[in-house]
Symmetry: C2
DNA sequence: GCTTGAACCTACAGTGGCTGTAGCTCGTAT
DNA sequence: ATACGAGCTACAGCCACTGTAGGTTCAAGC
């Protein structure tokens, strides 16, 4: 039986994060020691490892919840699992596309600045006026 | 003099967002009508346009605050402005790199799944065990 | 057995950048 | 004069944590 700190170390998680996962029902309520401290077994270790690895791959906690639920029904077709992963891939690709457009625009405005005074800094000019931009970028956000 | 809703429409901002910017000191406290409603002039319009466009280019509100402060000293060298933009570019590039690694890993695991049962879904196998991954991905988060 | 101190506990506030809601008041067109 | 859209304040909620305060428990060393 592992104390929460040991579980945290084994999975590269912070202690508070584990308690947070419990609070939102992503980790089960574990057994307790006589004094009331959490004690974890191998099942919980595996579950937390799954959660953490999914997080490293960028899945949302909501998607992870879905994936965990699905993996409790081993007989079912994995179509839904694949759909969750596909959707996530698309979102990642969309974010890359947006960031790539940003990168191009930023690089251009930085390259155009002749490093003079603030009064005629190219970067500030572009920020003041979207007409100076080549790409469209409607929604602020990541 | 513009009411807040008009300013919002002109800049593609939500009314609450403008009030939020005022609350955190990014927009100045505007004049008020007799009845106490906010009234904006062209200076505020320009400032909000600058903020919004900077947000579209991914700058944080903290960076935007800095850029706005800097642009109040037109005589100074724009080195600091350029540094803010450079730093942001590097962060964007770092995020692209991370997302690109994610994309590769996700695409691989999706491609390897033979779309069978949950019990032997390749996606779940990879999520359970980072050893199945090719890349390293230490920190969760975008 | 006793003391120490690291690790644990709960509860709550804060992060960034908004967004939404409730319950009012104001402005303006007819 | 009245209707109603637009404005007002204050506060809660989103995501995924992270940090803090103030107290309790555990395990090792003596
Ligand atoms: Zn410059
Ligand atoms: Zn632009
Ligand atoms: Zn599958
Ligand atoms: Zn991995």
């Amino acid at each position: 039986m592992l104390a929460i700190g040991t579980l945290a170390k084994r999975t590269g998680t912070k202690v508070q994060t584990i308690r947070y996962y419990e609070q939102i029902g992503l980790m089960p309520e574990p057994g307790r020691s006589e004094g009331g401290q959490r004690r974890y077994g191998p099942l919980e270790l595996d579950r937390l490892a799954f959660i953490r690895h999914s997080r490293q791959l960028g899945f949302s906690l909501e998607s992870i919840r879905e994936l965990l639920d699905l993996s409790d029904s081993p007989e079912r077709s994995c179509a839904q699992v694949d759909a969750v992963a596909q959707k996530h891939l698309h979102e990642v690709e969309a974010r890359i596309a947006r960031l790539e457009a940003l990168r191009v625009e930023l690089k251009r405005m930085i390259g155009e600045c002749r490093a003079d005074r603030v009064a005629n800094c190219r970067i500030l000019e572009v920020l003041r006026d979207h007409e100076e931009c080549l790409s469209d970028h409607d929604r602020p956000g990541s």
